[in-house]
C-alpha cells in the first residue's frame, strides 16, 4: 500500500482544465520529483495535496484513508507539511519560534498563567538543528539574519520535527547558491531516510536526477511519464516535458 495515492484528480479554473485526471503514488521513504514546464500543473497538483485547493473530481488517499482537506491547516494536522517557495518564515522571530510557531509548548507561570516554555523550545531546537547539520549557529538567532539555505533548513527542520508523513518541497533551491543547494538535497534525502514521503517540485534536471528516487513528468495537466531516476536521462525528461514524445506518438 502506498503512503499517498492520487487518482484521476481533476480541476478546472473557469474554462481552463488545469488538471485532467492525474494519477500519482508516493511511497514512504522515497523522494518523488515532479517536473514539468511552467503551466504544466505542478503547483495546482501540490496545492490539492496540501489542502489549498478543493478538487473537482478524483480521489486522494493518505495511508488507507480517503482525505478531502478543507484547509492547509487540516492537511498539516493529517501529516502533510508543505515547504513553500517563499518559505513562510517570520523574519523577526527566532529559529526556534519559527519551528514551533502555532504549536508552542506551554507551561504555567507561578502555576497559573500559561506562558511559552522557552527553555523547552530552545533545547528541542538545538537538538534538532544539530541533528540536521544545518550550520545554524544558534536556535535563538532571528531568521532575518540567515542565508537562503539556512532558512530553507529551518523550514525543513520544522517539517522534520513535527513528524510529517508527507513533505512537499516546492522549488526549494530556486533562490539558492550552489553550495546551499547541495545542503537542501542532503536534507531531502535525510527526510526520506527517516521514512517520510517527499514530493520535490523542481526545474533543474541535474538536481532532480541527483535527489529523486522516481520522477514524474507533467505536461498540460497530465502525468505523461513516470520513471526511476537511474533509468532516465535529461534528454528523455525534456522530451516528455515539452510534449515532443506525445506528438510523435500521435503522428505514428
Amino acid at each position: 500500500m502506498s503512503l499517498l495515492e492520487v487518482k484521476d484528480l481533476k480541476k478546472r479554473f473557469g474554462a481552463v482544465e488545469v488538471l485532467c485526471g492525474v494519477d500519482l503514488t508516493l511511497e514512504a521513504g522515497e523522494v518523488l520529483a515532479v517536473v514539468g514546464d511552467n503551466g504544466a500543473g505542478k503547483s495546482t497538483l501540490i496545492k490539492h495535496i496540501s489542502g489549498v485547493y478543493r478538487r473537482d473530481g478524483g480521489e486522494i488517499t493518505l495511508g488507507d484513508e480517503a482525505v478531502d482537506f478543507d484547509s492547509p491547516k487540516e492537511a498539516r494536522r493529517a501529516g502533510i507539511e508543505t515547504v513553500y517557495q517563499d518559505l513562510a518564515l517570520a523574519d523577526e522571530l527566532s529559529v526556534g519560534a519559527n519551528i514551533f510557531l502555532g504549536r508552542e509548548p506551554v507551561r504555567r507561570w507561578l502555576g497559573l498563567l500559561p506562558v511559552i516554555d522557552r527553555a523547552r523550545i530552545q533545547q528541542e531546537t538545538q537538538r534538532l538543528i544539530d541533528s540536521i547539520e544545518s550550520h545554524i549557529p544558534d536556535g535563538a538567532t532571528t531568521v532575518a539574519g540567515l542565508s537562503g539555505g539556512q532558512r530553507q533548513a529551518v523550514a525543513i527542520a520544522r517539517a522534520l520535527y513535527w513528524d510529517a508523513k508527507v513533505v512537499i518541497l516546492d522549488e526549494p533551491t530556486a533562490a539558492l547558491a550552489v553550495m546551499e543547494r547541495e545542503n537542501v538535497i542532503k536534507l531531502s534525502r535525510m527526510l526520506a531516510a527517516k521514512g517520510v514521503g517527499v514530493i520535490y517540485i523542481g526545474h533543474n534536471l541535474v538536481e532532480i536526477l541527483e535527489v529523486a528516487d522516481r520522477i514524474a513528468v507533467m505536461y498540460r495537466g497530465r502525468i505523461v511519464h513516470v520513471t526511476r531516476s537511474e533509468e532516465t536521462t535529461q534528454e528523455e525528461l525534456i522530451k516528455y516535458m515539452t510534449g515532443y514524445s506525445e506528438r510523435r506518438e500521435t503522428a505514428a
Binding site: 513562510a88 508552542e104 511559552i116 539574519g145 542565508s147 539555505g149 539558492l176
Partner: protein, 338 residues
C-alpha cells in the same frame, strides 16, 4: 543577502552574519533603544550641570508624571503597530474617556462603576476598530483617522463643548499621591507596562502578534487565529487610551474634551524612536518607555531653558527622522545588504 551567499565555498561552514549572534544584546532590545537611552541620560546630565532647577525633586516628579500618561498611551499604540496596523484614534479616545468618566461621576455614579463603564467603552472602541480592519477590510490608517475625528466629536457632544467639573476629591488625591517618593501615576504606568511586557514576551498571543507583523502569510499558514490577534491588539490600544484618559482627568480634576490633542502622534513617535517598526513585527514596551522618556525630557528641558516651544517641535521632528535612519542603517548591515 546575495553578496553573502556568493562567498560560500564547499569547504566552508555556512556562518550566520556576525550581527545575528548578538543574542544577549538583542534580548535587551539593542541597539536603537540604547542609543535613545544614552541620549536621554546625556540630556539629563547636561541639564543637571547647567541648570539649578532640573535636578530638583519637584521637577523630576513632574517629568515622571508627564512620562507616565504618555507612556501608557504609547504602550497601547505599540500593539497595533506590532501587527503592522496603526491606531490614530487614541488621542481622541483619551478625551472621550475623560469626559465620559467625568460625566458619570458628576451624575453620582460610584467611582469603581464609572471606571468599569469607561473601560467597557474602551473595549467597544477597540472592537469597532478591529472589526473594521479585519472584517470590513478598511485600512487601519483610514478607520482610526475616522475615529480620531469622530471620538473627538463625541467628547464635545458628551460634555456639551465644555469641561466637566466637580469630580470627587478622591481622584485628585490619588493623582497627587506618592508612594516611596514616586508618583502614583508612575506606579500605574509601571503596572500596565509590566503586564503588557509580560504578554508580549512570554505568551503565545504576544508571539503571534510579532509573527503576524513579521509575515502575515506565515502566521496564517501556521494556523494562528488572526482574527483573535487583531481584536486583541486594537482593544489593548483603546483600553490603555481610556486608562490614560481617566488618569489625565484625575490629574487635572476635570474631564476636558480638548485633552489629548495630537497624543496619538507623540505615542507613535515614542514607540518608533524606541525601536518599533511601522512595518510590523518589531517593538518593545521597554523601548517605547525610553522613547517617551526622551520626549518628556526634551519638553521639560526646553521649558526650563526657556527655549521657544516651536523650536522644541522642530527638534522632536529632526530627532524622529535621525533615530529611524540610524536604526535602518543598522538593520541593513545586520541583514548583510550593503
Amino acid at each position: 543577502m546575495a553578496s553573502h551567499d556568493a562567498n560560500l565555498s564547499p569547504g566552508r561552514v555556512l556562518k550566520a552574519p556576525a550581527a545575528t549572534r548578538t543574542r544577549p544584546m538583542r534580548k535587551w532590545g539593542l541597539p536603537v533603544e540604547t542609543l535613545v537611552l544614552g541620549l536621554t541620560l546625556l540630556l539629563w546630565i547636561v541639564m543637571a550641570l547647567t541648570t539649578s532647577t532640573f535636578l530638583t525633586t519637584n521637577n523630576l516628579v513632574n517629568i515622571l508624571r508627564q512620562v507616565s500618561i504618555d507612556s501608557i498611551i504609547a504602550f497601547g499604540v505599540l500593539f497595533p503597530i506590532l501587527i503592522r496596523g496603526i491606531d490614530l484614534s487614541v488621542g481622541s479616545v483619551v478625551a472621550l474617556s475623560g469626559v465620559v468618566c467625568a460625566s458619570l461621576l458628576t451624575a453620582g455614579v460610584p467611582i469603581p462603576l464609572a471606571i468599569a463603564l469607561t473601560l467597557v467603552l474602551g473595549v467597544a472602541i477597540g472592537s469597532l476598530n478591529a472589526f473594521s480592519v479585519y472584517r470590513l477590510g478598511i485600512p487601519a490608517f483610514i478607520i482610526t483617522l475616522a475615529g480620531l475625528q469622530a471620538f473627538r466629536g463625541g467628547a464635545f457632544l458628551v460634555s456639551d463643548g465644555t469641561s466637566v467639573f466637580g469630580l470627587p476629591r478622591a481622584l485628585s488625591t490619588f493623582a497627587r499621591a506618592e508612594w516611596l517618593g514616586i508618583p502614583s501615576l508612575f506606579w500605574s504606568m509601571l503596572v500596565i507596562g509590566l503586564v503588557l511586557h509580560f504578554i508580549l514576551s512570554r505568551t503565545r498571543t504576544g508571539r503571534y502578534m510579532v509573527a503576524m507583523g513579521s509575515n502575515h502569510e506565515s502566521a496564517r499558514r501556521a494556523g494562528i487565529n488572526i482574527k483573535r490577534i487583531v481584536f486583541f491588539a486594537y482593544i489593548v490600544s483603546s483600553v490603555t487610551a481610556c486608562i490614560a484618559g481617566m488618569l489625565l482627568m484625575a490629574r487635572m480634576s476635570i474631564g476636558s474634551p480638548t485633552a489629548g490633542v495630537a497624543y496619538e502622534l507623540n505615542a507613535i513617535a515614542a514607540a518608533v524612536v524606541g525601536g518599533a517598526s511601522l512595518f510590523g513585527g518589531r517593538g518593545s514596551v521597554l523601548g517605547t518607555f525610553i522613547g517617551a522618556l526622551l520626549f518628556a525630557t526634551i519638553a521639560n528641558a526646553a521649558n526650563l531653558l526657556g527655549i521657544d516651544s516651536f523650536w522644541q517641535m522642530v527638534a522632536t521632528g529632526v530627532l524622529i527622522a535621525t533615530v529611524v535612519y540610524v536604526d535602518n542603517l543598522h538593520k541593513r548591515r545586520q541583514s548583510g545588504v550593503k
